[in-house]
């Protein structure tokens, strides 16, 4: 593979962020990013810096139906959503245009929300940042007092084809790691701490064959590891 100079990296990352890198070139860059953490750093640099241009944006109020749809989607407070919806219905002429579709969609979502009991909020009391050796943080693990947990990618962990990342609970050195399931490089993933997880000290992520370790213990290299700490104020 051709080695990119620092200037090339910065240039390509900036064009990736601006959006002028498109089509096959964009896909090629995304593949390159998987092998070169310096490219992620450049992308993140440009995203943060150019994001400041957002302050100079004009203001254009979106129609109320957008917030209604968002609330329905994130399962937010149903009462508030209905109140806004009723008001928006009469105030907004454009509402009627999308009425049939939106109402059907919203009704379906509300039905699901009514049928599925709302979970209590996820309030983490312990967190662990998992890092690879000598590199920056790649995952954040959060654990709530009731034993629910979540593992979320924070850097952009790179996964080889045909492999999966598996999350492990680390306890004192006498006891074996316990699998908490696969971790996704795209989205946060929930897990539940098993019984006997008292005395937990941290988490690790190993590289496993697709679908996870076939043996119930880590079979591949442990690529990320981090200790648990309590969150402030908890």
């Amino acid at each position: 593979m051709k080695t990119l100079s620092a200037e090339d990296r910065s240039q390509l990352a900036a064009e990736f962020v601006l959006g002028t890198l498109r089509g096959p070139a964009r896909r090629r860059f995304e593949r390159l990013m998987q092998d070169d953490p310096r490219l992620w750093q450049e992308v993140s640099f440009w995203e943060n810096r150019l994001g400041a241009l957002g302050e100079a944006l004009p203001e254009m109020t979106p129609p109320p139906r957008v917030w209604e749809a968002i609330q329905a989607e994130v399962g937010a407070d149903r009462t508030a959503a209905l109140a806004t919806k009723r008001r928006g219905l009469w105030q907004s002429t454009p509402f009627w245009r999308g009425f049939a579709l939106l109402a059907a969609g919203a009704a379906a979502i509300l039905l699901v929300t009514v049928l599925v009991p709302q979970e209590s909020p996820f309030v983490p009391v312990q967190i662990a940042t998992l890092q690879s050796e000598g590199s920056e943080a790649a995952w954040l693990v959060r654990v709530a007092a009731d034993g629910r947990g979540e593992v979320a990618p924070i850097g952009r962990p790179v996964l080889a084809a045909g492999k999966d990342f598996e999350l492990w609970l680390l306890r004192d050195s006498e006891r074996l790691p316990v699998s908490l399931g696969l971790a996704s490089t795209d989205d946060p993933k929930a897990f539940a701490l098993p019984e006997g997880s008292e005395g937990r000290v941290g988490f690790a992520i190993s590289l496993e064959p697709a679908g996870g370790s076939p043996t119930g213990a880590p079979t591949g290299p442990v690529v990320f590891v981090g200790n648990l700490v309590g969150t402030s104020g908890q």
């Binding site: 601006l18 002028t20 498109r22 810096r49 100079a56």
Partner: protein
């Protein structure tokens, strides 16, 4: 260089800048703490975020997608993403507004890139219908320290370099579209963008150190 009437008319950007009164809340990043509260599942904070930022993000989505129905879709997807991934926001890496603007832009751009060209119904006239009362120059609208630094560095660029980069950023144009818009050869525009970004990087690095 500070924003001038000449610059506004040439970039087409200044006329889209918000009245200064709407920007007061942007000066000390009230967005970051609300993102952190959203990450903890606090719906009021999420609601505040929407109230404070949706008009800007909607304008951004409209700028890029040009069609209200697509922009609404994009906005909805943006906030759903913000709700789901607010825990990934790291205040050490940048301001809250930068983070959500990046999400909004990426969402709108990926929609734009997925649409076939002939579906694209936007036109210059629509672009100009964005609210323009009491326009302020782009630099004047950028108040936080991050934004000031960026504005200072942008002002060091040649007018064409800056104009091309801003057209691409705010309107989601390709370099070819910028070339058509400005009636210049594509090679010239590419070189403006490349050199502009290089100088911008140099200036930002200097300001950092």
């Amino acid at each position: 260089m500070r924003g001038t009437d000449r610059e506004r008319s040439e970039t087409g950007i200044g006329r889209r800048a918000a009245p200064a009164t709407n920007l007061r809340f942007m000066t000390d990043d009230p967005i970051g703490p609300r993102l952190q509260a959203t990450a903890r599942g606090e719906k009021d904070a999420f609601s505040d975020l929407y109230r404070l930022t949706s008009a800007k993000l909607f304008a951004l989505s409209m700028g890029i997608l040009k069609r209200p129905d697509w922009a609404e879709e994009s906005l909805q997807e943006t906030y759903t993403r913000i709700w789901r991934s607010a825990h990934r926001y790291d205040p050490a890496k940048g301001s809250g507004i930068s983070w959500i603007v990046t999400i909004a832009r990426n969402t709108a751009l990926s929609k734009l890139m997925r649409r076939p060209k002939d579906e694209f119904a936007g036109n210059e006239a629509e672009m100009l219908q964005l609210p323009s009362q009491n326009p302020t120059p782009i630099e004047a609208a950028m108040r936080s320290s991050d934004a000031r630094m960026l504005a200072d560095c942008l002002s060091e660029l040649d007018q064409e370099q800056k104009q091309s980069i801003l057209l691409i950023y705010y309107e989601g144009l390709t370099q070819r579209e910028v070339a058509e818009h400005l009636d210049r050869p594509i090679g010239t525009v590419k070189s403006w963008v490349r050199r502009g970004l290089l100088r911008l990087r140099g200036c930002l690095d200097r300001e950092d150190s």
